[in-house]
Amino acid sequence: MSETPVWAVVALPVALGLLAYAAAVLDAAFRVPLRAALDEPLRGAARMLVQQRRATLAADRLLTRAGVVALPAAALLAAVVVPMGTVAVAPMAAGVVWFNAMEVAVWGAVWLVGWGTNSAYALVGGYRFLAQGLAYELPHMFALITAALGAGSLDLARIAAAQHGLWFAVWMPVAFAVYLISALAIAFRGPLDHPVGDDIAGGAAVELSGPDRLVWTAGRYALLAAVAAAAVPLFLGGGAGPLLPAPAWSLVKTAAVLALLVWAGHRLPVVRADRFMGVAWTVLVPAALLQMLVVGIVVLD
């Protein structure tokens, strides 16, 4: 195993933070003029930082805080296996598996927060996320495995390298689409943000205040940035591209995917798990399996 360069260890959290901030600005820009959107996340962070922390009666603080902290932690840990250009902070032979395991930790995080705050709306938000998980997780895993199958490796850097000339997004479009849909569901971002929906006043996060809410909110944007970043080595050729150095291409492609994901949330009404579940099992799963079959046949050839 080669040494990880020091710059990568520093660059990863910085890049993740910048991407998360950019996503927050774009998110706000869909609601207010750009001039106000630029510092909206910063002012919001200041508000939550100085805000008093409040808890509901008989809330389980340990579980709630564990859930809150788990969110950014899962995002960062998922991102360590994602190569920036060709260099990942923690290159791993089974990187795809590690990445997916960190995503699954998000289930725990949302459920702990929803349950721990002892609030009816938060609990409903928790239920909704579990239901959503049942809908998206299988198609998501099939999409990941399809990319891995195409490259014959579970290492994200090798998957990226295997796409010289032809991006996986081009010759396995169904897997790419399924990945993007399920990525929104994992990061519980619109249109799949029902677990934290406005109709239940913010859902799982309804009772979070002060620094708890800040860490949670930052974690959500970081998670979205992480799943967008993983799409680049999986389907978009990694750091490959003309003129610019590989890490710059990774960043540009990640930003593009991130913008697409944020845009989707504002373009569509919320998709509820109770109706999404049917489509997930009758359309997404078979489509992902068929895609895998096609890729398998091509690879064997």
Partner: protein, 394 residues
């Protein structure tokens, strides 16, 4: 104060306001919403996210109690402003400029630490607001933390499940003013529901005003009444789209509503409404999500004595979405009509009776068995006007 003070001041420029709608305060709410847009302040989804509680109208005693409970749970730094029903634009601006501070919660610090444990959840307390903030001290002996444990009952599949008693409203975003629906929930499915409106202490029936004025003998131009009808339908549609999780489109509906009320040029309004209606009506996702919700047939219309919009358009939420869009379009076509208003058919039906009371009476049956998100969509789709019930009660 040093760093904390400076951060708080920096944050105060965007306080994520949370507006509380009060029966009779519709005009005040519309003024507040358009001023928030002018300031580029993003509204909060729930009170815990907010530093500024804006009460739009004069709540009666019961509703005031619910607002107080929400205020008690709001984390500092914070501010609370009251906008009276007859406020002018300048009043609203002055009210929203109120400084946001730590000072008025000093007494809260005396008894406890920053970790507040005063508002409870799920205990079915009578006066709980929003998510049930403000239930105050639980009084079940021997229960953990003084909170009543959830009871159990068989659910619709015959499984034994926890039952939670949760009040929906009266302080809830995109929700009819002062409406409180007490539900017994298992998981996220509503088993039973009771609806009532907690009244305001002043203000009138804003949406019905032109018809009431005509009935009282005044001369009102048909076009002015149609302007009010279109705005009223757009207002309800905005709430519906917001509850359906389509914030951008909900905001477009509000902009249109404000444009209609402010008397923007007719041609411009019709063109931008046509674009809005096309996008809303054609959304497959929206139709997929609301199909089958709030199904009301002719028999139900008879049974509950429903009148007006809902009675004219029996069917589900999809039917009424398209009907709403069509009726708004018809009203916008009549804006220039100068003939005298002669009928009493307001946005919610005959203004002489109060059709919203019948809508409210139909809610328990329609909500039973619905998922919580479906229940919210059903309420937003039927869109009772609480001003008809509680504008000046109590």
């Amino acid at each position: 104060m040093g760093l904390t003070g400076r951060l708080a001041a920096y944050a105060a420029a965007r306080p994520r306001p949370f507006a509380v709608a009060v029966p009779g305060g519709t005009r005040a709410r519309l003024l507040v919403e358009s001023e928030l847009r002018r300031r580029a302040w993003i509204p909060a989804s729930g009170p815990m996210e907010s530093a500024l509680l804006v009460v739009c109208g004069d709540p009666g005693p019961a509703l005031a109690g619910a607002v107080d409970a929400v205020w008690a749970g709001l984390p500092a730094p914070r501010a609370r402003v009251a906008v009276p029903p007859d406020a002018t634009e300048a009043d609203v601006r002055a009210a929203l400029d109120r400084p946001i501070g730590f000072d008025d919660i000093a007494e809260d610090h005396a008894g406890e630490h920053t970790e507040h444990t005063e508002h409870t959840e799920n205990t079915g307390h009578e006066h709980a607001g929003h998510t049930g903030h403000g239930g105050h001290e639980g009084h079940m002996m021997g229960a953990p933390g003084g909170v009543a444990m959830a009871e159990r009952a068989p659910d619709r599949d015959g499984l034994k499940l926890d039952v939670l008693h949760v009040p929906l409203g009266p302080v809830l975003a995109d929700w009819p003013a002062g409406l409180r629906v007490r539900v017994a929930m298992q998981g996220d499915v509503v088993q039973r529901a009771e609806a009532e409106v907690m009244g305001g202490a002043g203000g009138g029936r804003f949406w019905d005003a032109p018809w009431l004025a005509a009935a009282a003998g005044g001369r009102v131009a048909r076009g002015e009444a149609e302007r009010r009808r279109a705005a009223s339908l757009l207002d309800g549609l905005a709430r519906f789209l917001a509850v359906a999780g389509w914030r951008g489109q909900a905001e477009r509906a509000r902009r249109l509503r404000d444009g209609v009320l402010a008397g923007a040029p007719d041609e411009e309004l019709r063109a931008s409404f046509a674009r809005f209606a096309r996008r809303t009506g054609r959304s497959r996702t929206l139709r997929w999500m609301i199909r089958g919700l709030g199904a009301v047939d002719r028999a139900a219309v008879e049974r509950y004595g429903l009148a007006g919009f809902v009675a004219r358009h029996p069917g589900d939420a999809v039917t009424r979405l398209h009907a709403r869009l069509a009726e708004i379009g018809e009203s916008l076509a009549l804006l220039g009509d100068r003939t005298a208003l002669a009928d009493g058919e307001g946005p919610r039906g005959p203004v002489g009776s109060a059709p919203s009371a019948a809508t409210l009476a139909a809610l328990p049956d329609l909500l039973a068995g619905a998922e919580l998100s479906a229940a919210r969509l059903i309420v937003a789709d039927l869109d009772p006007d609480p001003d008809q019930i509680g504008a000046a009660h109590e």
